[in-house]
């Protein structure tokens, strides 16, 4: 299933299928590790430890900044920027949301900030974080790049 299919499905059901969480308001991995399901964990590119670190990083970033951080990893239908923006719109309160969309196959990275989040994270800050992330991805460190990106973006956003 591509991101395009994902978007179509989401428009119909008003939910976000194929996410690590059943819905944006669902429990996190830390709160409910069963939520992800054992097969989803094993079939993904991350180890359980990496998933938990990612979950922790997202929760910390949300708590510190008051913004909603989100990470999408998968195919981005061309044009990738528009696809990423469509995914961003699906997040509840997208104005305050920050989406990091990574397509490992296409080797593309898109960072989308809502118009409220953009006041805290300028496009230049996002570009700097993107450069750092891309460098990590080029070295094969998918989890490290994402964690680094979340940390940098949250640092730029500052505390709320």
């Amino acid at each position: 299933m591509t991101a395009g299919d994902l978007g179509k499905t989401a428009e119909i059901s008003h939910e976000q299928p194929l996410t690590a969480l059943t819905k944006p308001g669902g429990d996190t991995l830390v709160a409910d590790p069963e939520e992800l399901g054992p097969n989803a964990v094993l079939d993904g590119p991350f180890t359980t430890r990496q998933l938990l670190r990612l979950d922790e990083a997202l929760r910390m970033a949300d708590r510190q900044t008051g913004l909603t951080f989100s990470v999408y990893i998968g195919e981005l239908v061309a044009p990738s920027r528009e696809t990423a923006e469509k995914l961003h719109k699906q997040i509840d309160g997208s104005a305050r949301a920050v989406l990091i969309a990574v397509s490992p196959n296409q080797r593309k990275l898109e960072i989308v900030t809502g118009h409220e989040a953009r006041k805290r994270i300028s496009d230049r800050d996002a570009k700097l974080a993107g450069l750092s992330m891309a460098a990590a991805f080029a070295g094969g460190d998918l989890a490290g790049g994402i964690l680094s990106g979340i940390d940098q973006l949250a640092s730029h956003a500052g505390r709320h």
Partner: protein
């Protein structure tokens, strides 16, 4: 004589078992196919304050530098910002 042969056999089997190229590796390596299902991670919403506010999309964003997509094409300024990159 039999014991060294057995050790060599065991080591050889271990080496062969470890070099199974058909086994799927989970680690991402640039240039190799990434065939995992799409994943989307979000933190829980109780940390989101005022998440439903400000979704009208009409408010002007702050002035930002030129935004380019991964292919280098200019993206016109819109209600959302961010950055693109590739590796």
């Amino acid at each position: 004589m039999i014991i060294p042969a057995a050790i060599i056999l065991v080591v050889a089997l271990l080496v062969l078992a470890g070099s199974d190229r058909t086994r799927r590796t989970r680690r991402y390596r640039p240039g190799r196919p990434y065939d995992f299902q799409p994943m989307w991670f979000l933190a829980s919403p109780e940390q989101v304050t005022g998440a439903s506010a400000g979704a009208d999309g009409h408010q002007k964003a702050i002035e930002a530098p030129i935004l380019e997509d991964a292919t280098g094409h200019r993206v016109l300024p819109g209600p959302v910002g961010g950055a693109s990159d590739s590796w």
